[in-house]
């Protein structure tokens, strides 16, 4: 009887182990989360609210994207900024300023500057780096966030990747592969930004957080909230849509 018990214990242990092996590794988790968020193609309408201790401002924008390589962003409000567009094609980013009839190519040196005065940088906006290929990933453990069981992942950028962060800690929902929280650390391991995913909703058939909040770590009272007004995935979009000519034409 005792022997049976031990055998059972061993079997259970082995069984657990083999079950554990079926779990995705860190890279796969990020890959799935990324795929879920971007889809093959995606289109969205976003309201961005920039909150500062003494004031608050709203920007509305429309976005189009194919995977991580092609992104187009068009501002639709406020009136003075209407028509301004940002285009990302692979490694290059362009900005169309209708009020001066100019297309400006954003140099890499501007990637870390604030986008339209928000807590997002130009780099965040266009996601120049690839979260799957440009980082090495490691699972640190699990934790519950807003009642959802999450993996805690550590992402460290490769030396040659065009990434300014020293380290990212990401909380990814185990069941639905949603990034619910991300902490951005600089090269000296100081927390710079925290991004929170909130109000998980079914949007175009996918369960995703409909609100993203970016909170700079050391600046009290500052916050940027991104709210998806609508989002749709996998609608047909051609890469030819992502051209400078089209960026100027979009209304």
């Amino acid at each position: 009887m005792k022997k049976w018990c031990i055998l059972l214990a061993i079997l259970t242990f082995l069984g657990l182990k083999s079950f554990a092996q079926e779990e995705p590794n860190a890279k796969q988790i990020i890959h799935r989360a990324e795929q879920k968020l971007n889809g093959k193609t995606n289109q969205s309408e976003i309201k961005m609210t920039i909150i500062r201790p003494s004031w608050k401002r709203e920007i509305k924008l429309k976005t189009w994207g194919i995977g991580a390589d092609f992104t187009l962003i068009l501002l639709s409000a406020p009136a003075r900024d209407k028509g301004i567009a940002f285009l990302k094609r692979e490694k290059e980013i362009w900005n169309w300023q209708p009020s001066i009839d100019r297309v400006i190519k954003l140099p890499p040196s501007m990637m870390m500057q604030s986008w339209m005065g928000s807590d997002f940088t130009n780099d965040d906006l266009v996601q120049q780096s690839d979260p799957v290929e440009d980082y090495s990933h490691k699972i640190l453990g699990s934790e519950e966030i807003e009642g959802r069981d999450c993996y805690i992942l550590e992402m460290i950028p490769h030396e040659d990747a065009a990434v300014v962060w020293g380290k990212l800690i990401v909380w990814v929902d185990k069941a639905d592969y949603m990034e619910l929280k991300t902490e951005f650390f600089d090269e000296d391991d100081y927390l710079v930004n925290t991004m929170l995913g909130k109000q998980v909703k079914l949007m175009d058939g996918k369960l995703l957080p409909s609100i993203l909040e970016v909170i700079p770590a050391e600046e009290e009272g500052k916050k940027t909230i991104v709210e998806y007004l609508s989002i749709s995935f996998d609608k047909p979009l051609k890469t030819s849509f992502f051209s400078i000519q089209n960026m100027k034409r979009l209304r």
Binding site: I84, Q97, S99, I100, R102, S114, G117, S118
Partner: protein
């Protein structure tokens, strides 16, 4: 007393050569120090006038903390309280509202960083005389969609009159700021730095560009009477309180200029001290000689019953007379020279390129006008009289301890 004065006056002229030497050395000391002082003073008065009038105004009002950050986020709104200031504070003649920030200016393929200033055209002209700086084209009008560019900047951008300048920047609260403005005029600044980076828009247009309706970053105060400046600044500051606003005089906005002035003045003082030490010894030398030469005479006078104190006083008067004579001549001699250079400033650009550059850094031509101020002359005279009266203690002391027999034998 009158007799003593007469006596010492005649004594001076008994040995004309000695008198000439003494008077000449004092004359030169006074002449040089007056001249140097007035040139130095004149240069600084001109420099401060230039800087203060050229742009800053004697003082400026900002929102608290603006000067340290120089950020458009520290813009503020004019309110009734501020607008009333010129009526309430005497000595404050006017205020120029400005909205200042940085922008990129572009024409064709050339782009430059510029200091973009939104200002009220007529008020700006009344403070800094911007209209007179227009070298090409015309001055801009209120609410006109037009930009005034500094001449050097226009050259760098290869832009000419009536071309359209593109400006791009980040506005108030991080808004996108971009706009096109035709160049209506070119302004010239003596300072190459400023000449390469100044651009002016009418205030309303700049407020539109930066998305900062009705906001300004600074109010330049117009104060004609520089001597009352500090008082006016304090009065304005008291009225506004220090919770929301800062009222800064040019001394606080340009501390390096103030330091430069102090350093220059200190160097000058050092030079004058050395000059006066040399002169002091020169005068002392002649006094020593005189005391020695006249020891027989002193001995005779004392032995026939002349009061030692009276004798000492006479000699003291002689020395003072010499000093006054030298100082007076020095002042009379330097007056026309100072006056000439007051009207015709010394032009240093002929001497060295470097000097020109140093002055240009502060924004003006290397001209040194002499200041014509009575204090400068007056203090030289006071100083010389003070030095000579101290030196004259020597013969008095000598006479006091004089042994008539020995003195006559020497």
């Amino acid at each position: 007393m009158k007799t003593l004065l007469k006596l010492s006056w005649r004594n001076i002229w008994r040995n004309k050569r000695r008198t000439f030497i003494t008077v000449a050395s004092i004359f030169f000391a006074v002449f040089f120090s007056v001249f140097m002082n007035s040139v130095q003073r004149g240069a600084w008065v001109r420099m401060l006038d230039n800087v203060v009038n050229f742009y800053f105004g004697y003082a400026q009002i900002h929102q608290k903390g603006f000067w340290d950050e120089q950020s458009i986020e520290k813009a503020f709104q004019m309110n009734a309280e501020i607008e009333k200031l010129p009526q309430q504070v005497s000595g404050l003649e006017g205020m120029v509202p400005r909205l200042e920030s940085f922008a990129l200016a572009s024409y064709g393929t050339n782009t430059r960083g510029v200091l973009l200033i939104g200002t009220n055209p007529p008020l700006e002209n009344s403070l800094s005389g911007l209209r007179e700086r227009v070298v090409k084209g015309r001055y801009f009008k209120e609410n006109e969609n037009a930009v005034l560019l500094s001449e050097g900047l226009a050259k760098l951008l290869k832009i000419s009159l009536n071309d359209t300048l593109v400006l791009i920047s980040q506005g108030y609260h991080g808004v996108n700021a971009a706009g096109k403005y035709p160049v209506v005029g070119l302004v010239k600044f003596a300072s190459p730095d400023l000449n390469k980076q100044m651009a002016y828009l009418p205030l309303k247009v700049a407020q539109g560009f930066y998305g900062a309706e009705n906001l300004i970053t600074s109010l330049a105060l117009k104060i004609k009477d520089k001597d009352a400046g500090k008082k006016v600044v304090r009065a304005v500051s008291d009225r506004l309180g220090s919770d929301d606003y800062e009222v800064l005089g040019w001394q606080e906005m340009l501390p390096d200029l103030l330091e430069a002035q102090k350093t220059d003045a200190a160097g000058n003082y050092l030079f004058l001290i050395v000059l006066y030490i040399i002169i002091t010894f020169g005068i002392f030398g002649t006094i020593l000689m005189m005391t020695k030469e006249r020891s027989f005479e002193f001995g005779v006078l004392v032995s026939i019953g002349m009061n030692r104190m009276l004798l000492g006083f006479t000699v003291w008067l002689e020395v003072i007379l010499l000093g006054l004579l030298g100082a007076l001549l020095g002042i009379i001699g330097s007056l026309p020279v100072v006056y000439y250079f007051h009207l015709n400033p010394i032009d240093l650009s002929g001497f060295s390129k470097d000097i020109t550059k140093v002055y240009a850094k502060w924004g003006f031509d290397p001209l040194l006008p002499a200041a014509l101020e009575w204090q400068l002359f007056f203090w030289q005279a006071v100083l010389v009289v003070a030095i000579t009266s101290v030196l004259a203690i020597y013969p008095i002391w000598k006479i006091k301890n004089l042994q008539p027999v020995e003195a006559m034998r020497e």
